[in-house]
């Protein structure tokens, strides 16, 4: 027995000896610089211009503002390099800490780069174990560098939290798509689906005087004035807050960007994919011209997709089940009950169908890109993979036709059960 133990001890010693000489992989936290955002542009001198935001160690220390000099919670680096990892090496020549990509919260591509195809970068990001699969992908309409710079440091105390939260806003605005790198990558390779990315840009207006509507898409949607979603990123007439704006989505075909959609279309994109949670909508008042009814729309059930192939062409049936709460009735018409509510509901239904078809039409005719993933439902029509591959869904998608069915129900009238118009001195007696 004792000899056996001696042998084991000997073995242990044999192991400990090399161990004592080096702890191979141990890296102290404070020896690392953690990148929180990565921007990729086309470089002037090289294939890529990388922009890195590296969190500063002091940022969390004093609870608030952070560093002494410029108050930035992060340091921004830019470098031109042939690839992501060589860029890191180049930055490491000047940065004192070894750069780690494990905490990247967002990757921003410039639309110029995206239109050329993101394949090589995506592969690098999947292969490296450091990138998070759930980080959002943003396409900046101008340059990624500018976009990252415009994340206003004065208002953003904790940059990581800002990045983590701002791209979750699809849950309550419906104006940006839900994008995770994991999905993005898989869709870019998929036979049945195309990826989308969040569209971002720096706000173009510096003061109220500059406000204009020439880039708004409200005319396209057939409206007299723009709704909240009728903009592309950067065009919203707004001031204050962070100067980076995220609204709309970038449409991809494979790994190549083919177009942009504005906020309104993004909402309908979310509806089609089933990622829609809730948001506030203006719907034209069916009984009173020029007024709007404000609704808080929710998805009461995930949308149902039914795909058929008729004579080699896809025919797609969509069924939506939505519900809404009344938030405001400008015309003070009593939409809470009775026939009026039926009228409102059918009006909303037809409004949604109209808008949806516009959106689907765009994906089919303008982009010819199945960003909603109808192909995933079409797969069930085939028994083997070889047959499905031979059908070539992505090229057939441009021939797709749609039928849309929407069931909308007003569930709750808010805290006001019965609308009444305000009583002025003239009309007071009439209304009673």
């Amino acid at each position: 027995m004792a000899r056996g133990k001696l042998l084991v001890i000997f073995l242990m010693l044999a192991i400990i000896c090399p161990v004592m000489t080096s702890c191979f992989d141990a890296k102290e936290v404070d020896d690392m610089g953690f990148v929180i955002a990565l921007g990729l542009d086309k470089g002037k001198t090289n294939a890529l211009r990388m922009t890195l935001q590296i969190a500063k160690p002091m940022a969390g220390d004093n609870g608030g503002g952070g560093g002494k000099d410029d108050g930035l919670p992060y340091a921004q680096f830019s470098v031109e390099a042939p690839s992501i990892y060589s860029g890191l090496n180049m930055i490491n020549t000047s940065a004192s800490k070894q750069i780690s990509l494990t905490h990247i919260k967002v990757v921003v591509f410039s639309s110029e780069l995206a239109r050329e195809g993101l394949g090589p970068y995506l592969h690098a990001m999947v292969r490296g174990r450091e990138f998070r699969p759930n980080m959002p992908i943003v396409v900046a309409r101008n340059t990624a560098e500018e976009y990252l710079e415009s994340v206003d440091p004065k208002l953003v105390v904790n940059a990581t939290k800002y990045y983590e939260l701002v791209y979750q806003s699809y849950k309550y605005t419906g104006l940006i798509p839900k994008v995770e790198f994991h999905d993005f990558y898989l869709s870019s390779e998929s036979l049945c689906k195309n990826p989308v990315a969040i569209l971002g840009n720096t706000a173009k207006f510096q003061s109220v005087d500059e406000f204009d509507l020439k880039d708004s898409t409200y005319l396209e949607h057939g409206r007299s004035s723009p709704f909240e979603g009728d903009f592309y990123a950067g065009d919203i007439p707004a001031l204050g807050g962070s100067r980076s704006e995220n609204i709309g989505l970038a449409v991809f075909d494979g790994d190549r960007m083919v177009g942009e959609l504005d906020g309104t279309n993004t909402t309908f994109h979310l509806l089609c994919t089933g990622d829609f949670v809730h948001s506030y909508w203006n719907v034209p008042d069916p009984l009173s011209e020029g007024h709007y009814v404000l609704l808080d729309i929710k998805q009461s059930r995930k949308p149902r997709h039914h795909v058929e192939i008729v004579e080699g062409k896809p025919v797609i049936h969509l069924t939506f089940n939505l519900e809404g709460d009344l938030l405001s009735v400008q015309s003070t018409i009593d939409y809470e009950a009775g026939d009026n509510s039926m009228i409102l509901e059918s009006a909303v239904e037809s409004y949604i169908i109209d808008q949806l078809l516009q959106y689907l039409d765009k994906t089919v005719n303008e982009f010819q890109s199945d960003i909603c993933g109808f192909g995933t439902h079409a797969r069930g029509l085939f028994t083997t993979w070889a047959e499905w591959e031979a059908y070539q869904w992505k090229s057939k998608y441009k021939d797709a036709t749609f039928t849309v069915d929407v069931n909308f129900k007003v569930r709750r009238p808010g805290l006001i059960l019965r609308s009444k118009s305000s009583v002025t001195s003239e009309s007071g007696s009439d209304t009673q």
């Binding site: 027995m1 001696l6 141990a26 890296k27 102290e28 936290v29 953690f34 969390g60 220390d61």
Partner: protein, 591 residues
């Protein structure tokens, strides 16, 4: 020479010596016990086992007789009829007159007109002098003059049955017996013309009375603890366990100290081979002096290199009783307020006495918390190190930045930091115990606070590490068994080294190795991690969480007790009574 031999030993193959490990098997003499399914499965191999058992017993017998031959000399009656001869022997044995506190009281007894010389020996300070005066000396010297009703009897019987009113009177045939008694607080009475001496138990040791247990505190439950005297300890156990089959076997350990010990067990529950093994181990101890059960524990435990204790030391009589009813064996030792209970499993050292007295949801909460505490005390610093050195991506970014900025000014690598803090924590802990009087705990707390604060201020350690070490310390205090706490404190350092070497992989390897080590260990023939590995019926349900008291129907399977069942399937009989009183009554009576 020695080294040469060692190297030779290391390099050449030698046939290993056969060691017969003690394995607790099911008892052959068990009848009337209910057979669970597993036992039925083993039916086929039972015969074989019985043979093994017989062999084992034979082996024991040989050893026991060996022992007897050695001690035969003492057993021979050696008390002479000559009082002066006896007195000479006693004086020699007790080194009179060097020994100052031995009292030899010479006196005369008048029986039937004859005067018989006699003397009494006892130690001053171990006996109750009032009892000696009133119950021994007085009757012998005065009452023997009274009228004698019967005659024709010999003096021995006469004195025993008529004169001495003392309640505990034994006859001794050898001087050794008398001496043992005298050392254990008795008095010896030698009478001229008799080759038998009397011993009477008149002990009144100086010592504590029964107090609250100091280390195993409970909120709900009895508040009595063992003291340093053997008989009051056995009395405390008997007071609770009113079972006719509770046996207290006396045994003496220590060649010179001759410390009296008692083995206690419930005869028709405890496995015979277990009792025999305990007896064998205790009897085979060859030692001059033994002071405490802490020493005894080291003499009888199975594997001295195992970090965790393999014997339960407790100062709570109720705990001992409940373990006795499960078929375990208790060893009570004179002079120690801790009673040993064997065998134990890893569960027993993790659970406190209170678990049984609390309602089961409460005690289950406590158990879960204790398991967490164990894991924290074992692994927390290691995991902290592994995460901060190897797996950065796991930490939430905000927390990471906080750790990062806290560590920014600290000059040491985090391993050194952890070791520094762990060692100073252990220091505070040890100092806290040794500091005299009531300032101890206060100083400990203040020391910890000030030291921690100052260390952070001086940028020697990062504040987050103080939290880690403090929580680890708390965790180790939540482990109810004192020795087990030690075990995990030692193992923790191993885990810290492993995780510093290779992160989570190192911790996993450590856990697997520790698991193999624990699982391989036995405590008196019972596998240490018993109800879980090897799994016995109901292993997981009873091992981790506790079922309600009325559902604890069976004794632990690994104990192989003679009676497997503690209570019938329906122990709360009032529940059935409402439904169908007559029927259930008659059924239960039959069963």
């Amino acid at each position: 020479m020695d080294i040469k031999k060692r190297i030779k030993n290391l390099l050449f193959f030698h046939e290993p010596q056969m060691e017969k490990p003690f394995i607790l098997k099911e008892d052959s003499s068990s009848d009337g016990r209910d057979n669970s399914d597993i036992e039925k499965n083993k039916e086929g191999s039972r015969k074989k086992k019985n043979e093994d058992l017989l062999l084992l017993k034979k082996l024991e017998k040989i050893k026991l007789t060996d022992k007897k031959e050695g001690s035969d000399k003492e057993e021979k009656p050696d008390i002479s009829k000559q009082l002066s001869e006896n007195k000479r022997v006693i004086e020699e044995r007790f080194s009179i007159p060097l020994n100052g506190d031995l009292i030899i009281r010479k006196f005369d007894i008048t029986v039937k007109d004859s005067v018989i010389a006699a003397f009494l020996i006892f130690f001053d300070g171990l006996v109750d002098t009032k009892v000696i005066n009133d119950d021994i000396l007085q009757p012998l010297m005065l009452l023997s003059n009274l009228d004698i009703k019967s005659d024709g009897e010999n003096i021995l019987n006469y004195i025993r049955s008529h004169i001495l009113p003392h309640n505990q009177l034994k006859e001794a045939r050898t001087h050794q017996e008398v001496i043992d008694e005298v050392y254990f607080g008795g008095c010896g009475l030698y009478i001229d013309g008799l080759d038998t001496a009397f011993t009477a138990d008149v002990k009144e040791f100086p010592g504590r009375s029964v107090e609250r247990p100091n280390n195993e505190l409970v909120i709900r439950g009895p508040q009595e603890g063992f003291t340093e005297s053997l008989r009051s300890n056995t009395g405390l156990i008997r007071k609770r366990l009113m079972d006719q089959k509770l046996i207290t076997e006396n045994i003496i350990i220590g060649r010179r100290s001759r410390t009296p010990c008692s083995i206690m067990y419930v005869k028709d529950i405890a496995n015979d081979s277990l009792v025999a093994e305990v007896r064998r181990r205790l009897k085979s101890i060859e030692v001059d002096h033994i002071m405490d059960t802490g020493e005894l524990e080291q003499f009888i435990e199975d594997d001295p290199s195992l970090p965790t204790p393999q014997v339960m030391a407790t100062e709570r009589p109720d705990r001992v009783c409940s373990m006795l009813t499960e078929g375990r064996v208790a060893i009570v030792m004179h002079g120690s307020p801790f009673v040993l209970v064997v065998p134990v499993t890893s569960n027993d050292i993790m659970y406190s006495a209170e678990d049984q007295y609390l309602r089961f949801p409460y005690s289950n909460l406590l158990r879960i918390i204790r398991i967490l505490a164990l894991l924290m005390s074992l692994l927390l610093p290691a995991i902290f190190l592994a995460i901060t050195n190897y797996h950065h991506e796991m930490i939430p970014t905000d927390l990471l930045l906080a750790i990062l900025s806290a560590r920014e000014k600290v000059p040491f690598p985090s391993v050194v930091e952890v070791f520094l803090m762990e060692i100073s924590f252990e220091l505070i802990r040890e100092a806290g115990i040794r500091i005299p009087g009531p300032i101890g705990p206060t100083l400990g707390i203040i020391g910890a606070l000030i030291l921690g604060q100052a260390a952070v201020e001086a940028n020697i350690v990062s504040p987050i590490l103080i939290i880690v070490v403090a929580v680890t310390g708390l965790g180790s205090f939540a482990i109810p068994n004192f020795s087990a706490g030690f075990a995990f404190r030692i193992l923790r350092f191993g885990f810290i080294i492993l995780s510093a070497i290779s992160g989570f992989l190192g911790i996993t390897v450590g856990l697997v190795l520790m698991g193999l080590w624990m699982v391989n260990a036995k405590s008196f023939g019972v596998p240490f991690v018993s109800p879980v590995a090897p799994r016995t019926s109901g292993g997981f349900s009873d091992a981790v969480l506790k079922s309600p008291v009325w559902k604890q129907e069976k004794r632990p399977d690994y104990m192989n007790a003679k009676k497997g069942r503690k209570q019938p399937h329906i122990s709360r009989r009032w529940i059935n009574r409402d439904v169908d009183s007559n029927k259930s009554d008659s059924e239960d009576n039959n069963g």
